[in-house]
Each structure stands twice: as structure tokens, then as C-alpha cells.
């Protein structure tokens, strides 16, 4: 089976400092992968390059064996680390936009998820709370039947109850043959659902390993291992 997401020698420099420095890894379909690392380790930069929102200095990203471009955007569902939906839109407009541009978008599923959240199609996005906006964005992202999901800090800045909702939304809505890469530093919350982790440090891959393998080898949880590795 071919990897659905491959990163080769990826480097991104901002002036003299390198946000990414020769990153290499591959993710197979059906895997739920945690992209872990402290703040500034390059997680967001890596996902932005993979989503086609940033140009790398060197190296390449292949999604379904294709360099990042229009085709990869059609098969990748990306959740940014900020609110990106136009705030002048209503919830219905946002659903229509996804439906019009993404062939793999399931409108009925999205509307059902929004209904569960108590969001009406006529609700204006700028009138929603920050937490509701984030959940709505996640619902739209997860309503696609993409081959690759890239979720940037979906658990960041939300309360524990919302974290549970977000995690269950992710787990119940991504297709089994797709790969899901999720960046976070809140490892305790997601450790139990991950198949694999990629640890980033100062723009380099420190380690890529299966979660079970890592636990067996170190004799501790991924969370404890993370704290040990990134100890200040």
C-alpha cells in the first residue's frame, strides 16, 4: 500500500531561522497520527505547507503521490488553527460554500452535525461564540470524505467538555481508509486514540513511531515520554 502523505527533505526558512529543517516522514492510509511538539517546533508550518498555504524553501510534500496543488486540495480536508470562515456569512452560506467547492462534502451530514450543536442555517457566524465557531469549522472539515485530514491544534483553547466533543466528532467522522494528522501539545487527551506519533523538535523529526511500540519501548505513556523529551 502506498503512503497517502509523504514529506521529503522539507525545509522552510524565515530569514536565517529555520521553521522546518529537512523533515522526512510518510503516513499510510487508515492511520490516525499525532503531530507532536512544543510551541515553535514547526507543526503549523508543516501543515500549512501541506495544505498549499505556504511555499517551502526546499523539499517536497506528496499527497496521494501528487505534489501540493489543486488536486491535493480537493482530497485534503484542512482545519486551520484559527477561524477562517468569512464572519459575514451565515452558517448556511458556509455549508453551501463547502458543498459547492468540495466534491467529497456531505451536506446532510454537516447540517445534522450543526443541528446537534444547536446552530441554525440562518445564524450569522460573527454572532456565534468563539467556541461555537471553532466547532462549526471542525464539523465542516469532518463532513468531507477526504483521503487526508490535516487538523491544526483542534483542541487548542477549548474547555475540557468541548475537547471531548471535538475528539468524538473527529473519531466518528473520518473515513477508515483516510489518514488523519492532528497537531497538538495536549497529548493526554488524544493519546488513547492515536495509532502513531511524529515528534518534532526545532524543525526536525525527532521520532516517528507507533504509539503501542513507543509505550512498550519506554515503559511510559506518550504524554510522560513527551514531557521527558521536551523538558525545559
Amino acid at each position: 500500500m502506498d503512503a497517502v502523505y509523504e514529506v521529503h527533505g522539507l525545509t522552510k526558512r524565515y530569514g536565517r531561522s529555520a521553521a522546518l529543517n529537512g523533515v522526512d516522514f510518510a503516513v499510510m492510509p487508515g492511520r490516525l497520527v499525532g503531530l507532536l511538539g512544543p510551541n515553535g517546533s514547526g507543526k503549523t508550518t508543516l501543515l500549512k505547507i501541506s495544505a498549499g498555504l505556504l511555499q517551502p524553501t526546499a523539499g517536497s510534500v506528496l499527497i496521494n503521490q501528487t505534489p501540493v496543488g489543486v488536486y491535493t486540495k480537493a482530497i485534503t480536508s484542512y482545519l486551520p488553527d484559527r477561524m477562517a470562515l468569512p464572519t459575514e456569512f451565515t452558517a448556511g452560506d458556509a455549508v453551501s460554500l463547502y458543498n459547492d467547492f468540495f466534491a467529497d462534502f456531505d451536506k446532510a451530514k454537516a447540517l445534522a452535525m450543526l443541528s446537534d450543536l444547536g446552530i441554525n442555517s440562518r445564524d450569522k457566524i460573527d454572532a456565534m461564540s468563539k467556541g461555537t465557531q471553532e466547532k462549526m469549522q471542525l464539523c465542516l472539515t469532518m463532513s468531507r470524505a477526504a483521503k487526508l485530514y490535516l487538523l491544526d491544534e483542534p483542541l487548542g483553547g477549548v474547555d475540557p467538555a468541548a475537547r471531548d466533543y471535538i475528539l468524538s466528532t473527529i473519531l466518528h467522522n473520518y473515513s477508515e481508509d483516510a489518514a488523519l494528522v492532528l497537531s497538538t501539545h495536549l497529548i493526554g487527551d488524544i493519546e488513547k486514540v492515536l495509532d502513531e506519533v511524529i515528534l518534532l523538535q526545532e524543525g526536525k523529526v525527532l521520532r516517528q513511531a507507533a504509539v503501542d511500540e513507543l509505550r512498550e519501548e519506554t515503559g511510559e505513556s506518550v504524554d510522560a515520554y513527551f514531557r521527558e523529551v521536551y523538558k525545559c
Binding site: L54, A74, A84, F101, F102
Partner: protein, 262 residues
């Protein structure tokens, strides 16, 4: 995809422009109606005269502000495209040139709409609209008028592209993007003027010998003065289109090869 992008762009900007247009229209109609009744009342109602003058002034300012909004609404959209809203819009499976085309088409349409709307409001304010004052276009002048309109459209598109290029350049930087956009706008304008000056100087020095031997009077007589004006306008149109194409190409280069969302 371009049609869909245009649909959402007009929807998003229409929600800003149209309510303001409605407000400006109401203000101008009110100023016109009250102005019609409150005339020569300085002796009987001095305050009413002052209030009327202020209302008329507000109607003038509202028209000016509305036109500026029509022009800048799409510049704001483009600036936001390279910021937070780009995290969704640029992640759509759409080629970058379609995003630029959407912003150019939408911006040009709103600017033309603003100009027409302001003219309508001015006519209402004056309460002097008379269809007879507008002479119909002579069928013989149709192509001439069409060419002038086309030049106007490509000039508006060029002015917008100039601003988009400044925004796209500023998006290379992680901080102070707005300030850099403004500075880049003036630098690009200055560079364009210098390039035009150099091109004209080269053209004048190189073409001097050729044009010196051409009998312009005889040429004008043989072609007809109308045709010469038409040809000159055509040359202006081609020149503006070339400048627009250059601005577009540079903007697209920044958006494809140097994209750097903050």
C-alpha cells in the same frame, strides 16, 4: 469554479455595499425633498436653513464616501485573502488566477456601480433630471464610445491590480503588512512612472528619425481625423492592457511562488 467564486464574492461584498447604498439613497432623497420645500426661509425659519445646509453637505459627503467604499471593498477582500480568510479560500481546489480574476471582476463592477449610483444620487439631489439633457449615442459613435468605456474598465482593473500587487508583496512579511502594503503601493507607482518615462524617452529618441520623415498632415487627411483618434485610443487600450497584464502576472507570481499566509 470562477462563477462560484464570483457568486460568493458578490454575496459577501453585497452585504456591505448594498445596505450602505440604501442609506445613502435615503439620505439623498431626504435632502432633495426637504430642499425642495425649504427654500428662501432664512427670515421665517433661520435654523431650518442651517439644518438644510448641513443635510445637503452630509448628502454630498455620503456620495463621496460611498464611492470610496465601492472601490476599497474589494481591496479589503484581497488583503483579507492573504490573511485569515485565505486559510479557507486558498485551501479550496481553485487555481490562484481565479482568485485574482474574481477580485478584479468584482472590484471593477462595484466601482462602476459606485460611479453610476453616485451620479444617480447627484441627479436626485438636484431634482433636475431631464431625459432630454442626455443625448442618445449617435450610431456612428458607437465604437468610439465602446472603446472609451473599455479603456475606463481596464483602467479601473489596473488601479485595483496595482493595489492587489502591493498587498501581495506585503504578504511576504510576517509583521506590519498594512504599512508595507501602503509603502509598496507608492513604490510600485513610482517605479511604473519611471519605467514609463524611460520608455517614452527611448521611443522619442529612436522614433524621431522615422516620424520626422512622415507627413502627419497628409496621413491625417488620408485616414481621417476620427480614425486617427480611434487608433490612438486603441493604442492607449493596448498599452493599459499590457500594464494590467504585468501587474496581474506579478501578483500571481507572489500568490503561487511566494505564498506566505501570516
Amino acid at each position: 469554479m470562477l462563477t462560484k467564486l464570483l457568486h460568493y464574492e458578490f454575496r459577501a461584498t453585497g452585504r456591505i455595499v448594498l445596505p450602505i447604498a440604501a442609506g445613502v439613497l435615503v439620505l439623498n432623497v431626504l435632502a432633495a425633498v426637504l430642499g425642495y420645500f425649504i427654500q428662501n426661509t432664512a427670515d421665517s425659519m433661520p435654523l431650518a436653513g442651517v439644518a438644510m445646509a448641513l443635510l445637503t453637505f452630509a448628502a454630498y459627503i455620503s456620495r463621496l464616501v460611498f464611492f470610496v467604499i465601492c472601490y476599497f471593498v474589494e481591496v479589503r477582500q484581497f488583503y483579507r485573502l492573504l490573511g485569515d480568510s485565505g486559510y479557507l479560500m486558498l485551501a479550496l481546489p481553485v487555481q490562484p488566477w481565479k482568485h485574482i480574476a474574481t477580485k478584479v471582476i468584482c472590484g471593477t463592477v462595484w466601482t462602476l456601480f459606485g460611479a453610476l449610483f453616485v451620479s444617480l444620487c447627484a441627479a436626485i439631489s438636484a431634482l433636475s433630471y431631464n431625459a432630454a439633457e442626455f443625448s442618445p449615442v449617435n450610431p456612428g459613435d458607437f465604437w468610439f464610445c465602446a472603446l472609451l468605456l473599455l479603456i475606463l474598465v481596464v483602467c479601473i482593473a489596473g488601479a485595483l491590480l496595482h493595489m492587489y500587487l502591493a498587498c501581495a508583496f506585503a504578504a511576504q512579511f510576517t509583521q506590519q503588512r498594512l504599512l508595507i502594503s501602503i509603502a509598496a503601493y507608492f513604490v510600485i507607482g513610482f517605479a511604473g512612472q519611471m519605467a514609463a518615462l524611460v520608455a517614452v524617452a527611448i521611443f522619442a529618441f529612436r522614433g524621431y528619425k522615422y516620424f520626422n520623415s512622415v507627413d502627419l498632415t497628409a496621413t491625417a487627411a488620408s485616414l481621417g481625423s476620427d480614425n486617427i483618434v480611434f487608433l490612438i485610443l486603441l493604442a492607449v487600450l493596448v498599452l493599459v492592457v499590457l500594464v494590467d497584464a504585468l501587474l496581474w502576472a506579478l501578483t500571481q507570481w507572489f500568490m503561487t511562488k511566494r505564498l506566505n499566509l501570516a
